[in-house]
Structures are given as C-alpha cells and as structure tokens.
C-alpha cells in the first residue's frame, strides 16, 4: 500500500462544535474566497478567544490556501493570537494619552498582585493581561478594558479591585 506522509494539516475538528459550525458558515458566506482570510480569522478568533492550530489547519484546508500564507497573515496582525489569552482579560491602554496619565503604574500594580506582565496569563489561566496601542478613549485616560467593559480614569489604587469585582479573580 502506498504510504503518504502524515501532515499537521490532517486534523479533524468535532463537527458538532458550534464554533466550528460558525467558522464553516462564515467560509461559505464568503464563497471560499481566499481574500476573505482575515475576515474568517476574525470569526475564529472571536469564537475561540484565540486561534488554535487545528482551527488554522481547518481554515487552510477549506480555503485551499498555502499554510505559509495563513501563518504569515496571522502573525502579522496583533489582533490574532496563537495562545489563549485567559478566561478573563484585562486590557490596559498604553496609548499616548494613557501613557502620559500613568498606564504604567496600573500595569505595575497588576503585576504586584497577580504576578503577570502584559501578554502573560496566570498559571490557572484565569486572568490574562494585555496592552493596547490606543483604544481611542483618550478623554478617559487612563482607560482599562476588563473583559468587555471599558473602565475610565482608573487609578493604581483601584485597578485590582476593579478586576476582582468584575471577574471574581483574586477575591
């Protein structure tokens, strides 16, 4: 019997998973067009919170694009992440206005309590901290987004309380 090389692309996703259905539906809606890759990646990232490798393999196969092109595109854009960002997230804006108004102090305070730096996730995957290059809420500087809620004019004294109240992490 002819042997074929086992490929990292040969992964099956559970067809009953609603997230897989969502991505499959998006691909169909975009007519399997290769230039819709970024749109499809957005859908996948929203569904999973990040882009697991088997999901990327699924998209690659469905769109019939070279794997290198998918990986090139994913790693170019900051929005896409190959690792889980944590069950709950705290995004500290470090745009110019927030930087001038003390965003760094917020990050220091978070690190003091949760021992994680931007881009890291607590060992139990409960909380992840990220920074953004301006979320456009400069009038509210410094601004923080906890899960999906924007918190305005946050002080270093408040930040950890805000996180705990909103997410329950660190209570």
């Amino acid at each position: 019997m002819l042997k074929t090389k086992k490929s990292f692309l040969d992964v099956e996703l559970p067809k009953s998973d609603p997230r897989v259905k969502l991505i499959a539906a998006k691909i169909k809606k975009e007519n399997y067009r290769q230039d819709a890759l970024i749109e499809i990646l957005h859908t996948a990232q929203n569904a999973y919170g990040y882009l697991p490798m088997n999901v990327l393999a699924f998209i690659t196969r469905e769109l019939k694009v070279p794997p290198s092109r998918v990986y090139s595109t994913v790693t170019f854009y900051h929005f896409f992440s190959l690792k889980s960002k944590g069950d709950h997230t705290c995004l500290v804006c470090t745009g110019t206005a927030c930087y001038v108004k003390g965003a760094q102090a917020l990050l220091d305070e978070i690190e003091n309590k949760f021992h994680i730096k931007p881009g890291q996730v607590t060992p139990d995957n409960q909380l992840g901290v990220q920074t953004a290059r301006c979320i456009g809420a400069c009038g509210l500087a410094p601004a923080v987004v906890v899960d999906d809620e924007v918190k305005a004019k946050v002080t270093a004294a408040q930040i950890n309380n805000i996180i705990t109240t909103k997410t329950g992490v660190g209570a």
């Binding site: 090389k5 490929s7 990292f8 070279p66 794997p67 290198s68 092109r69 790693t75 170019f76």
Partner: protein, 235 residues
C-alpha cells in the same frame, strides 16, 4: 517600442519606454548594488541599496521598481547615496550574526561582496545580537536564520517560480523570520518539493546544501533567472 532619452550620471542614453532605472544602468555599465533584486523575480524594493536621486523629486527612489521617464536626470553615485549604501550594509551585518570566517558561503556570498564594494570597514552601530535558529531538519538542505537578511528571494522563487508556497514570513518588524508552512521544521513541510531553487537564489549562507562544508557552498541565482526567461519563450 518607442524610445525616450534620459541622462544618468552624465551619460545621455536612449532607452525603451517602460524600462526600469536599474535595467538601464545594468545595460550601460553603471554599477548599482542590489540585494533583494533578482532578474526573473517580482521586485519588492525592500533592501533600499538601489536608491537613486532623480532631479525634481525630493524622495530617493528605488531603481528596481522605478521606470524611466522622458528627459529625466538621474544620479546613482552621489556621496549621499554611497554613504547610505554603506549604512544599509552595516545594518545588514548588525541585524543578525554574520561571521564570514566560519560561514558556509565564505567567498561565495553576495553580502560579503557588498561589504567590500561599499567599503565597509567596520560596523558603527550596535549589534542586535538576535537569537536565531538553525533548521537542519530537511534531508537535503539547511536553513540558518543567523545568516538571513530577509531579502525574501526564497519566498518569491518558491511561490512564483516553483509554485510550491513552502516559504512565508512570520511576525513583523525586526522579529520577522522566514518560515516553512505553519512555522514547522523545514523537514516536516507538506509543500516543499525539494527543488532547491531557494538555495540557489539565496545571496548569503542562510540556505545551503547539507553536504556543503565551510566556504564551499556555491550559489546559482542566474540559473533561476535563465529558467524564468526560458519559460517565457514560445515553443
């Protein structure tokens, strides 16, 4: 093809419409260094070595992607351009880890030749000392990212000439790296055809044959240029 006249470095030339400044110069013994350019591949204007000054334009223009226009006066060897070419070369050397004496391509390296050509005596800028991998998982070839200058000739030859799309580019800024498929070891690639064109076009010691030894690796970028030309011929 209609002809137009241009003046390059005091030479009055008659050239065909649609020719690039670089092609005009190469055909008339005007030496402009290049790194990312290779005849037969789509030009990307990325290495910036071939920048020239065009009178009436304040910006420096890459000669590989700029087409000559009637009555242009172009300078290719001004002091400023020479200085910038030397600085670009210094940046190439400082970006990753280029140690010629122990390199597989020593003596057959376009980057090394460039250093001699532009008169680079030392690198005045801080080295980045990036930690780069050597991928020797492929049965025929090796990819040493320490020697890579991101000219992307390998990426272009693989997608546009071979059609395999094995190579891609990951990340951005100074953290860009050449990758195979999903950033897998080259040997695990599902798309590589083992054709070796990327090795032939690589200007440095980043891509080499596994059986090569120090200083013995010969490259044949011309082979790819010729191949493209032959493919365009009508039988």
């Amino acid at each position: 093809m209609p002809k137009i006249s241009v003046k390059i470095d005091d030479k009055d030339l008659e050239v065909e419409v649609g020719t690039t400044v670089l092609d005009v110069c190469r055909a008339n013994d005007i030496d402009i260094p290049t790194m990312c350019h290779l005849k037969g591949l789509v030009d990307v204007g990325a290495c910036r070595l071939c920048l020239v000054e065009v009178e009436g334009t304040s910006k420096l223009l890459p000669s590989c992607t700029t087409k000559v226009q009637a009555n242009q006066v172009i300078h290719t060897q001004t002091d400023k351009l020479k200085k910038y070419r030397r600085m670009i070369t210094e940046l190439f050397f400082a970006e990753r880890n280029h140690v010629c004496s122990v390199c597989i391509a020593n003596g057959n390296c376009e980057l090394q030749d460039l250093g001699y050509k532009v008169g680079m005596e030392n690198v005045r800028f801080p080295y980045l000392f990036q930690n780069c991998e050597v991928d020797s998982s492929h049965s025929k070839f090796v990819m040493d990212h320490n020697r890579c200058i991101m000219c992307t000739r390998c990426v272009r030859v693989c997608s546009d000439v071979e059609g395999a799309h094995n190579w891609g580019i990951m990340n951005r800024g100074y953290q860009v790296r050449i990758i195979a498929d999903f950033n897998v070891p080259w040997g695990d690639s599902t798309t590589c055809t083992y054709c070796g064109k990327c090795v032939d076009v690589c200007p440095t010691g980043a891509l080499w044959n596994k059986d090569a030894t120090q200083g013995s690796m010969q490259k044949y970028p011309q082979a790819v240029s010729d191949l493209v030309e032959k493919r365009e011929m009508k039988s």
